[in-house]
C-alpha cells in the first residue's frame, strides 16, 4: 500500500476497501518512522491531517467523491497555507503564518485532498540540492548520503520514500523535474500561466510554476487537472488556455507516428555516461513503441544557463525586498536605526545562497550594467524560445535527460556554486521558454535513478503526458522504490 500510486489509492477508497483516515494514518506513521532520517517534512500536524481525512470520509458518505477525495498530498514550504507556518525554509520567514491559502491550495482543498504537511526545500527555492534549507538538509531515500535534488527536494524525497503518495513542488529552473529525476519519481512543470502563482512565495516571477510530483504519469495528470485554471487575481495566469482532458491524455499505450526530437545539445561529452546510456536506451524503447526519433538542434541551449542566472536573480532581488523586518518575518534585536534594522534583519534572516542571488540580481539591474546583463539575457531568452518554436515545427515532443548526473553526495558541491548551477543545465531552457516539461524515471546509473525529460509545445501538456504514459506502460521503472524504506528496488 505505501508505494501505491494515487490512482490505486483512489480506487481502494472508492471501493470502500479503505478510508481516508486509514490512508492518512498509514502515511503519518511512515512520516513518524522515517522523517528524522530524511528531513523531507519541515512541518507536520498529525491531528490536523486526521481531521481533514475524517471530514473527507464524511463528505464521501454524503456526496459524490471529489476528484482527489481523501488523497494525501504534501506541499512544498513555498505554498502559503492558512494552516501551519509557511516559511520557505528561510529564517527570515521563521514562524510566519500566512493569513491566506495559495490558489492551488484552495483548489486542492476543493478537490477533496488531504494536505499532509510542508516539505523541505532550498531556501526560497534557490538551489538544486535542498542543502540551502534553513531547516537542515534533506536526504535522498535511495542513498541518504546523497542529495534529493532541489529545490523541491523535500517533496521528491517524501514521494520516493512513500511518506506521501504525492506532493506539490514548484519549478523555476528545474526544481520539480531535477529532484524527481534524482529520486526516481515523476514530476510535471505545466506551461507558464497554466497554474495560478497567487499565494506561492515568489522566487522568479516570470519563471515560477507549480506542479505535481508523484509516482506515476496518471497521478501527475490527476493533480494537474485539479490545480489548473485561470485565476483573475494572477495577471500572468492565462484566461483562455486551451483545455485538456488530463486523464484521457494518459490512456496512450503506444507511440505510433509520434515524432520525438532528440536535441544534440542535450547529449554531450561531460555528462555522466551511464545517464546518457539510460536515456539513449529509453529512446530506443520509444522507437520500438512506434515513435520516430528525429535529431534536432536547439542551438542556443548553451547560453540558457547564463541567461537564467541573470534573469532569475534579477527578479528575485526585487521579490525578496519585502523581507525587510518592517511588517513580518525576522527583525533583528535592538536596531540602532532604519539602515541597521534593514541590514541586520536581512543579514541574519537570509542564507548565503539567497544573499548571493540577491547581490547578483541587484548588480545585473544596476545602472550601467542593465544593458549588458539583464537586457542581453532577455534577448537570449527570446532566442531560446525561438529554438523551441522552430523545433516544434518538426517534432511533437522533445526528449532529453532531465539532469546530466545522478544524485551527488551531500556537501559535494556546496562550495562550488557554478558546478551546482550546472545540474540544471537541461531543465532551465524549458522555464525560459515557458513550456511544459515532465521528468519520469527511465533507469538507473551508478545504482541511482535517472530521469527522462519530455518537453512539449506551450499548452500541450497532453503530448507530454501521453508520451510519458506510453513509455511508463512499456517499462517497469515506476515500480522501483528504495528498499531501505520498505520498497522494491
Amino acid at each position: 500500500m505505501p508505494f501505491s500510486s494515487l490512482s490505486e489509492i483512489q480506487n481502494r477508497l472508492s471501493s470502500g476497501e479503505t478510508t481516508a483516515v486509514e490512508v492518512a494514518r498509514l502515511y503519518l506513521d511512515r512520516i513518524a518512522s522515517f522523517n528524522d532520517e530524511l528531513n523531507a517534512f519541515v512541518h507536520i500536524d498529525p491531528a490536523h491531517v486526521l481531521a481533514q481525512a475524517q471530514a473527507s470520509d464524511k463528505y464521501r458518505s454524503e456526496h459524490d467523491a471529489r476528484p482527489l477525495e481523501g488523497l494525501p498530498i504534501a506541499v512544498k514550504d513555498i505554498f502559503c497555507t492558512q494552516d501551519g507556518p509557511t516559511q520557505c525554509c528561510s529564517n527570515i520567514l521563521k514562524d510566519f503564518h500566512a493569513p491566506y491559502d495559495a490558489e492551488v491550495i484552495t483548489k486542492l482543498k476543493e478537490a477533496g485532498a488531504v494536505l499532509v504537511g510542508k516539505t523541505n526545500m532550498d531556501e526560497f527555492a534557490m538551489g538544486s540540492s535542498t542543502e540551502t534549507s534553513a531547516f537542515g538538509v534533506c536526504r535522498n531515500p535511495w542513498d541518504t548520503e546523497r542529495i534529493p535534488g532541489g529545490s523541491s527536494g523535500g517533496s521528491a524525497a517524501a514521494v520516493a520514500a512513500a511518506l506521501t503518495p504525492a506532493a506539490l513542488g514548484t519549478d523555476t529552473g528545474g526544481s520539480i523535474r531535477q529532484p524527481a529525476a534524482v529520486t526516481g519519481i515523476t514530476g510535471l512543470k505545466p506551461t507558464y500561466g497554466r497554474v495560478s502563482r497567487r499565494g506561492i512565495i515568489a522566487f522568479a516571477s516570470s519563471l515560477d510554476q507549480a506542479g505535481p510530483m508523484t509516482r506515476t504519469v496518471k497521478d501527475c495528470a490527476m493533480i494537474t487537472g485539479a490545480i489548473v485554471g485561470h485565476d483573475p487575481r494572477d495577471a500572468t495566469s492565462v484566461a483562455d488556455a486551451p483545455a485538456i482532458d488530463w486523464l484521457a491524455a494518459c490512456e496512450s499505450r503506444d507511440m505510433k507516428g509520434l515524432k520525438i526530437g532528440k536535441p544534440k545539445e542535450y547529449f554531450v561529452d561531460g555528462m555522466d555516461a551511464e545517464v546518457r546510456a539510460s536515456v539513449e536506451a529509453a529512446l530506443k524503447k520509444c522507437e520500438e513503441l512506434g515513435a520516430e526519433i528525429i535529431d534536432i538542434s536547439l542551438p542556443n541551449t548553451e547560453h540558457a544557463v547564463a541567461a537564467y542566472y541573470v534573469i532569475a536573480p534579477s527578479e528575485a532581488s526585487a521579490n525578496l525586498s519585502r523581507y525587510d523586518g518592517v511588517r513580518f518575518g525576522h527583525r533583528c534585536d535592538n536596531p540602532e536605526d532604519l539602515l541597521d534594522m534593514y541590514t541586520r534583519s536581512r543579514d541574519e534572516g537570509f542564507g548565503s545562497e539567497v544573499k548571493r542571488r540577491i547581490l547578483t540580481g541587484a548588480f545585473a539591474l544596476s545602472s550601467g550594467y542593465y544593458d549588458a546583463y539583464y537586457l542581453k539575457a532577455q534577448q537570449v531568452r527570446t532566442l531560446v524560445q525561438q529554438d523551441f518554436t522552430a523545433a516544434f515545427e518538426q517534432v511533437d515532443v522533445i526528449a532529453t535527460p532531465t539532469s546530466p548526473i545522478t544524485a551527488f553526495k551531500l556537501g559535494e558541491k556546496t562550495d562550488d556554486p557554478l558546478t551546482m548551477y550546472l545540474s540544471d543545465i537541461f531543465t532551465i531552457a524549458v522555464n525560459l521558454a515557458g513550456l511544459p516539461g515532465l521528468s519520469q524515471p527511465c533507469g538507473f546509473a551508478n545504482n541511482l535513478p535517472v530521469g527522462l525529460q519530455w518537453i512539449g509545445p506551450a499548452w500541450r501538456e497532453d503530448s507530454v503526458l501521453s508520451a510519458a504514459a506510453a513509455y511508463e506502460a512499456a517499462t517497469e521503472w515506476t515500480t522501483r522504490s528504495p528498499a531501505a524504506f520498505g520498497g522494491e528496488s
Partner: protein
C-alpha cells in the same frame, strides 16, 4: 546681462478610483490607519497585482485632453528602493514605455496670446504609504492606507521660463484634471503634488545644472520656492560658484529650501520590467470610446460661453473655473433665459463675491440657481430695480423667505405709476429751484443730479426708465 529661468514640472496626481491600483482596497481618504489594506497592498508573500482598468481609462482620458499620443501597448516596471512605507521594496511604475506620450497645454500670455508648453509623458504608478515621525519618541508609525493608490505622473518639458508660467501651467492642468473628473486634485490631501526641476542660464546658452525642488503643497509655495531657488542659483553663479545637481526640500515655514540628497546619493532604482503584469494593451476602439465620452474642456466651455451667451472673456473665464460653476451658471440661464449677461454679472460679481467674502464654496451657497433666477426675473419684469435687488439678495443670503416676500417686507417694490413718480419729481424740483433754472438754461448734465435725487427720494423703488422719461417731460417746463 539677464538670466533665463528654465523650469520643468513633475505632477503626481491621485486618480480618483474607488479601489486601489492593484487590489480591491478602498481609496477613501482619512480612514483609521491601516484599515484599508489587504495582503496585496501590504506586500505579503505570494500576493500579486491586478491592474485597475478604471485608472487606465482615466489616464487615457487625461492623455487625450492634453492632445497626447496613447501607446496602445505600454509596460509596467519595478522601481526598487527600500523605505518602510513601501511594502514590497519596489514601486510598480511605468518607466520604459508609458501609457501616454507627447502632449501639450496652452497657457495665456500677457500680450493676449498663447504659449504652448510640452508634456513629455504621463505614466501610471502606485502611491506609497505614509510614514509618521512627528510627536513620536524614537519610533515611526506607518499607515499603509495610501499604499497602492493609483497615481499618474505628468512630466512636462523644460518649457517654462518663469515662476508665473509654471503656476499658469499648474493651474491649467489642475483645472483640466478636475474637469475631466479623473482626480479630486485636492492639494491639501496630497492628491496633486508637484516637484519642480529648476535651472538658470544666459539666454541662448545650453541648459544650466538643475536642481529638483520637492515638498511644495500649494500654488503659493510653489511660486515662492521657484523664485527662491532661481535667486539662489543666480547668486551662486554670479559669485563664481557652480550649481550642484541635487534634490532640495522646500520649507514653507522658514521660506527656504535645504539640500535633501545630492546626485551621488541619488537612488539607483534598478528599473526592470514588472514580471507580474503582462504588457498593458488597449485597442484603438477603446481609446476612441474614451475620446467620445470626453466632457467639454475648460477652453471649449469658455469659448461656448462667449459665443452662446455673449459673455465677455473675463466673465466666461470666471464662470468656467470649475465644472460645478459652469453647470450652476447654465442652470441659472435656463431659469432666467431672458438675459444671460445679467445672469453672468449676478453670479460672478454678486454671488461669487459674497461667497468668497464668507469663505464658502459654490456648493455651500445658501441661494440656489433657481432662487437667484426668481430675483433676476423680478428685475426683468420691472418689479424691482437692479439696485434694490442687491438689498433683496443680501437678505436672501440670510433667509429662506421667498423673493417676493422679501421685496414686500422691505418695501422695495418698484414704483412704475407715473402719477406717483410725477409727485416725487415735482417735490424734488420744488426743493431745487436753482438747478431747475440751470437745466432749463442749457446745463443738460444736471439730468443726472435729478435722477439721483428722485431715486433717493423714492428709496430706490422708482422705475429708473420712467424716472428718466418723466424728468425730461417735466423739466421742459
Amino acid at each position: 546681462m539677464s538670466w533665463e529661468v528654465v523650469i520643468g514640472l513633475e505632477v503626481h496626481c491621485q486618480i480618483n478610483t474607488d479601489t486601489k491600483a492593484f487590489c480591491g482596497c478602498s481609496t477613501e481618504f482619512g480612514a483609521e490607519p491601516n484599515t484599508q489594506t489587504c495582503p496585496v497592498c501590504l506586500g505579503m508573500p505570494g500576493q500579486l497585482p491586478v491592474l485597475n482598468t478604471v485608472a487606465v481609462d482615466k489616464t487615457i482620458l487625461t492623455g487625450l485632453a492634453i492632445n497626447a499620443h496613447i501607446n496602445l501597448e505600454s509596460k509596467f516596471d519595478r522601481k526598487n528602493y527600500f523605505y518602510p512605507d513601501l511594502p514590497k521594496g519596489y514601486q510598480i511604475s511605468q518607466f520604459a514605455v508609458p501609457l501616454v506620450v507627447g502632449g501639450y497645454i496652452d497657457i495665456p500670455t500677457k500680450d493676449g496670446g498663447e504659449k504652448r508648453l510640452g508634456i513629455t509623458r504621463i505614466h501610471m504608478e502606485e502611491d506609497a504609504g505614509k510614514s509618521m515621525h512627528e510627536g513620536l519618541d524614537a519610533v515611526s508609525h506607518i499607515d499603509l492606507n495610501r499604499s497602492g493608490v493609483p497615481l499618474m505622473e505628468i512630466v512636462s518639458e523644460p518649457d517654462m521660463r518663469s515662476a508665473d508660467e509654471a503656476i499658469a501651467y499648474l493651474k491649467q492642468l489642475h483645472q483640466l484634471i478636475r474637469f475631466l473628473g479623473v482626480s479630486g486634485a485636492d492639494m491639501e490631501k496630497g492628491q496633486f503634488r508637484c516637484d519642480a526641476n529648476i535651472s538658470v542660464r544666459r539666454p541662448g546658452e545650453p541648459f544650466g545644472t538643475r536642481t529638483e525642488m520637492k515638498n511644495m503643497n500649494s500654488f503659493r509655495f510653489i511660486k515662492q520656492a521657484i523664485e527662491f531657488e532661481v535667486l539662489r542659483q543666480i547668486e551662486i553663479i554670479e559669485d563664481g560658484g557652480e550649481v550642484v545637481q541635487e534634490s532640495r526640500l522646500w520649507d514653507s515655514v522658514k521660506c527656504e529650501s535645504r539640500s535633501m540628497r545630492s546626485k551621488e546619493e541619488a537612488h539607483d532604482y534598478r528599473y526592470f520590467p514588472e514580471p507580474d503584469l503582462p504588457p498593458l494593451r488597449v485597442s484603438q476602439q477603446e481609446v476612441d470610446a474614451i475620446k467620445a465620452g470626453m466632457p467639454e474642456l475648460p477652453g471649449q466651455l469658455r469659448k461656448r460661453f462667449e459665443t452662446e451667451y455673449g459673455l465677455s472673456s473675463y466673465d466666461a473665464d470666471v464662470l468656467t473655473q470649475t465644472l460645478e460653476s459652469a453647470a450652476w451658471y447654465e442652470s441659472l440661464v435656463a431659469a432666467h433665459p431672458a438675459d444671460p449677461k445679467r445672469c453672468a454679472n449676478w453670479m460672478a460679481n454678486e454671488l461669487l463675491g459674497r461667497l468668497n467674502d464668507a469663505g464658502k464654496d459654490l456648493s455651500e451657497s445658501p441661494v440656489s440657481a433657481a432662487r437667484l433666477a426668481e430675483l433676476l426675473n423680478r428685475i426683468g419684469d420691472n418689479t424691482i430695480s437692479g439696485k434694490a435687488a442687491k438689498d433683496v439678495f443680501d437678505a436672501m443670503m440670510e433667509s429662506t423667505d421667498s423673493v417676493d416676500a422679501i421685496i414686500e417686507a422691505k418695501g422695495l417694490k418698484q414704483v412704475s405709476d407715473s402719477g406717483a413718480i410725477d409727485a416725487i419729481i415735482l417735490e424734488v424740483m420744488a426743493a431745487n429751484p436753482a438747478q431747475v433754472e440751470g437745466y432749463r438754461g442749457g446745463k443738460d448734465k444736471l439730468m443726472g443730479f435729478f435722477v439721483g435725487q428722485v431715486m433717493k427720494a423714492s428709496r430706490g423703488t422708482a422705475n429708473p426708465g420712467m424716472v428718466n422719461q418723466r424728468l425730461l417731460e417735466l423739466l421742459k417746463g
